[in-house]
């Protein structure tokens, strides 16, 4: 099936946080107590109950200050480190090309929270001592998306800064929008997410460099994430298999040597031994 994606156009975002509220409403996520940090951001970070969040940034360029907004959440990487480290396949790419999450399968190991280059998945630790925990993150409303509906945040976005559709079409649209913005004085306007980590499922039209939005300019797939399941685990099977084989060879050799050195008698064989 054609890969679907989300396009966030920062030049259209008004920072209303409607996406944040729609996300909580659709998923029944409780609000979390927050603190005044001197910013309009609220709550201050993504969390087990906050999968989408609008971040606010100030960016100054050539004496002109831009107030930047970013609808932030899981970007659904093609090379998804979280999928590669998840030992229970709770995280995987679904048929729409999105990184889906099955809460029932999650065993709370938290490997995804450590592997994600964007720091998106969060762990809700029910009991640190016994290790009972659940991870969570934005799934692009996998229940809606796989049934032909658009994600709740896209559905609600009043200025139309969030769009949902076929990824290729959205990329073409985003590129045209970047040119349009450049022609109107946004020299730094750019598309983010087309190539990063094999291509993101959440594309961004930005009016300033990624760093100005708190985005990594060059996000890197953590090498160890691939090494664990694709390197260490097969190596383990080979190493243990070779050990078993080595022991079997030794058993045959030793048993043969032992039988050569002993005389085995049985009640029926007494006469034969004499002869």
């Amino acid at each position: 099936m054609t890969r679907l994606a989300m396009l966030f156009d920062a030049s259209k975002c008004i920072g209303c946080k409607g996406c944040q509220v729609a996300c909580k409403q659709w998923w029944g996520l409780p609000g979390s107590e927050t603190e005044q940090t001197g910013s309009y951001e609220n709550p201050a970070d993504l969390g087990p109950n906050t999968w989408t969040r609008v971040t606010f940034h100030e960016y100054e360029e050539a004496g002109r200050t831009q107030w930047l907004f970013l609808a932030w959440g899981c970007v659904h990487c093609t090379q998804a480190a979280c999928v590669d480290v998840c030992p229970t396949a709770a995280l995987k790419h679904n048929e729409l090309g999105l990184v889906s999450f099955e809460r029932d399968l999650c065993n709370g190991c938290g490997y995804c929270t450590q592997a994600c280059p964007f720091g998106v998945p969060r762990l809700e630790m029910a009991n640190p001592l016994t290790g009972q925990a659940k991870a969570s993150k934005c799934t692009f409303c996998q229940d809606r998306a796989t049934n032909g509906l658009i994600p709740a945040c896209v559905k609600t976005c009043p200025p139309g800064a969030l769009e949902w559709g076929e990824r290729d079409a959205l990329i073409a649209k985003a590129k045209a929008r970047v040119e349009w913005l450049k022609a109107r004085g946004y020299a730094q306007a750019q598309l983010y997410g087309e190539k990063e980590l094999g291509g993101l499922g959440r594309l961004f039209v930005l009016t300033a460099p990624p760093e100005a939005y708190g985005l990594p300019a060059n996000p890197q797939y953590p090498t160890l994430a691939a090494g664990w399941q694709r390197g260490v685990q097969p190596f383990g099977y080979v190493a243990v298999g070779a050990t078993v084989l080595g022991l079997a060879i030794n058993w045959i050799a030793t048993r043969r040597a032992r039988l050569n050195n002993v005389e085995v008698i049985a009640p029926e064989s007494e006469g034969e031994k004499e002869g």
Partner: protein, 233 residues
């Protein structure tokens, strides 16, 4: 002509040599139980076919069991240290003391492995080179296990993510090394046609004098006989 049972020569009184103290044996079996539980519950995350054991009530139970067994695992050497300090430090010293006899053992090991008899095997101390190698690996992996395990248990989100991921990899590599040695160890004490007797050392604490002479001749002569002579004389 049938041989009457009474015609058989009276059995010589068997001499048993004490090899492991009660403290050593209890620490060993604590380690064994902890290790097998840790391995069983750990493999749930390692082997995709065992994935059903990671979810629901089974998942909650296995996560708890892994953590409880980890405490037992860490307690085992402490029991060894407190209960049998002389043997603890003696064995530790043995494991780090390598000499010409160990080189001789390594030279003869291939022949013993492929042909099933000892060719020019020099008499060995309480632990032969193979056992010392096992002990050293156990000492190293024990520390890797508990340090990386501790970080994964309590350090998530506190330690840098790269360090956390290294902990997962090191924990796994330690597991692979110890599983290979564990299989070898099980094989030698339970399957190998010439060594099965060694398991009585860990169950009853003793081995026969014959076994000790054949497998640990230097230990029998230098530690057991001489120490006895000094003690009695």
């Amino acid at each position: 002509m049938a041989t009457a049972v009474t015609d058989l020569a009276p059995a010589r009184r068997q001499v048993l040599v004490v090899r492991f103290t009660a403290g050593e044996r209890i620490a060993h079996w604590m380690h064994f139980v902890a290790f097998t539980v840790l391995l069983g519950t750990g493999l749930f995350l390692y082997v995709p076919a065992l994935q059903p054991f990671t979810i629901g009530a089974a998942g909650a139970a296995s996560r708890l069991a892994h953590r409880a067994a980890a405490l037992l695992f860490m307690a085992a050497p402490l029991v060894y240290l407190v209960w049998s300090p002389r043997e603890f430090f003696g064995s530790l010293k043995d494991a780090f003391t390598w000499g010409p006899d160990d080189l001789g053992w390594l030279r003869a090991a291939w022949c013993y492995y492929t042909r099933g008899y000892a060719c020019d095997m020099p008499p060995q101390g309480k632990y032969n080179a193979g056992q010392k190698f096992n002990a050293l690996t156990q000492i190293i992996t024990f520390n890797l296990f508990w340090i990386t395990g501790f970080i994964m248990w309590f350090g998530k989100g506190t330690v840098p993510p790269t360090l956390f991921m290294w902990c997962v990899v090191i924990h796994d590599l330690s597991m692979i090394a110890t599983v290979a040695l564990f299989l070898l160890h099980l094989y030698l004490v339970a399957v190998h046609p010439l060594m099965r007797e060694s398991i009585t050392a860990m169950f009853e604490g003793t081995v026969t004098e014959e076994f000790a002479r054949e497998h640990h001749g230097k230990w029998l002569a230098e530690r057991v006989y001489r120490r006895r002579a000094e003690h009695n004389g």
